[in-house]
């Protein structure tokens, strides 16, 4: 099994590679979620073109596959930015100011939760609890957990992401 941790370092969608990924789990019971995670791990999202292939391999309807992809918050329908920042919005983080962090991201940086920056450098998403509630506010940057996040930290993350590598 792969590490299955969504980060921004994904390859371009490739139908042949996608087919191999799907086939690899053909005989596994309940393979739908693992397949979707593998695809997203490889490409940063699940392309529409994978739907009929998965339906065929798992012997379910296309509507079923589509239903699963849209049901779960994790699966993206379009490529993510180079970096993915998930900001915790749940209660423990609220108690130490995550609402202010998010307002800052929206107002100062003009970024919207669930969207990618116009330059493609960063996707900002909401998440409900990262299990770091004793060191809130917490964020997950490309799969790395960061605790006691300040507005300065957020500025630095977004500015570093925007800089050409």
């Amino acid at each position: 099994m792969t590490a299955q941790v969504s980060s921004g370092t994904a390859a371009r969608w490739n139908d042949a590679v996608a087919k191999d990924i799907i086939d690899a789990r053909r005989s596994e019971p309940g393979a739908m979620l693992p397949i979707l995670h593998d695809l997203q791990e490889a490409f940063g999202y699940v392309d529409q073109s994978a739907v009929p292939v998965i339906a065929d391999v798992l012997n379910v309807s296309r509507a079923e596959v589509h239903g699963v992809i849209t049901y779960y918050h994790d699966f993206r329908h379009a490529p993510a930015g180079k970096h993915v920042l998930k900001i915790c919005r749940a209660e423990a983080c609220q108690s130490v100011g995550c609402r202010d962090l998010i307002a800052h991201v929206e107002q100062k940086h003009g970024l919207e939760l669930g969207k990618t920056s116009p330059d493609g450098s960063i996707t900002v998403e909401e998440v409900f609890c990262l299990g770091n509630c004793a060191l809130s506010p917490a964020v997950l940057l490309d799969g790395e957990l960061i605790g006691r996040v300040t507005i300065d930290d957020i500025d630095q993350i977004i500015e570093t992401a925007a800089r050409p590598a």
Partner: protein
Amino acid sequence: MTMRIFISKDAAALSVGADKVAKTLSAELASRGIAADIVRTGSRGLFWLEPMVEVATAAGRIAYGPVTSADVASLVDSLTASGMHPLCLGPVDAIPYLAKQERLTFARVGVIDPTSVADYIAHGGYEGLEKAIALSPADIVEEVTKSGLRGRGGAGFPTGIKWKTVLGASADQKYIVCNADEGDSGTFADRMIMEGDPLLLVEGMTIAGLAVGATLGYIYIRSEYPHAFRAFQTAVDAARKAGYLGASVAGSGKAFDIIVRLGAGAYVCGEETALLESLEGKRGIVRAKPPLPALKGLFGKPTVINNVLSLAAVPHILADGWKTYADYGMGRSRGTLPFQLAGNIKFGGLVEKAFGLSIHEAIYEFGGGTRSGRPVRAVQIGGPLGAYFPSSLFDTALDYEAMAAKKGMLGHGGIVVFDDTVDLAAQARFAFEFCVKESCGKCTPCRIGSTRGVETIDRILAGEDPAKPLALVRDLSQTMLDGSLCAMGGLTPYPVLSAIDHFPEDFQRGLTRVAAE
């Protein structure tokens, strides 16, 4: 002699720089030619002290923290010369926060190398399994039943009774499913076990398998926990390699193995039947009960589904006998509960104690009050579906029945602290909003009622006279309480109504607020 140093690689410790400290320390020791082993452990759960560094000495492990990489050089100086480093906390076991605890489930977390089967066994691991192998399935179930263990996932259902049902069912295949979806805000105990003592959970699942005659286990780990996912997968591989999983578990001739699965960001998949649907590859929609998962669970087969902490309590119960476990606790809440102190709290972390600690003791004697230094105004216990309590209820004991008597719930043991800047009307709005986002959509009261709830609280926030909207919220809440299939819709009214009942002043916006300004 080679020095032994311990630094956590728990995700929370990493989130405040534990890797950087470990790297800097390793380089510093090497540059001075000091031979040392740096062992990466789980976290002791004293998170305000992370990154914490522990050094083995003749007098036990000495702790230092919170250590930054800038402290490393002076720390190494103090290790080689005599003299106390300012960050020295003394023997780790004597730190009051830890010394006052009763750690059964968490006894090894922060102590051992979680990837090492040998280290696990050297610290008493697999003693429970050895005992279980010598017992009949019915006798294993009997031990668990007598211990009084109740499910730690929230509902508090007796674990032994659940196992008995599965044992009694006949089928060609049965399953053990571990619920590691830990979606409640303010909780991280499951995560700490998976990262800090994953073999304990492997052992617990294995014993469950022997007890009910299941040869395969699945664990469903939430995708928000990438570190736990990797750590647990590593432990499963190590256990298999050492012969503790596979065709003949520990040479017993009995088979058991574990498949590790990842969730996909849906809170409701923590509900047991939605979780089973998700494991089967479908949308995580709650199933109507009956049939019980114990009779028709995963892929339609008899299935034990238990929380991480329930399964992790089992090895201890088998190793030391049911009575040792049952001697902890109060009333019908037996054993220990790992509480999690979270949010605006000075000393946030993990506190494992017998049931019966009061909220006050938890948040002041352990937690030290708020991190902001302002007065505590409210706590939310039991996750996003748990009630908000004011300080007048802080003498309530943290046990299932005592909390229920005050219209609260213990849930998974998470305690989130808020200071006096909290706006309970905003928190009530969030409770509805969360339900809108996470409802599986099966019942109308949950799906539509929560949306109406958000709109109605917005009217109050906009300054409308609250009398009418509050009456509507109460009405909606009653409909959700009565007409929801699961606790998502059925318990969302708890945070909402507790906020309204205990903090009515926060819902009087408009005139009074404007007049006061």
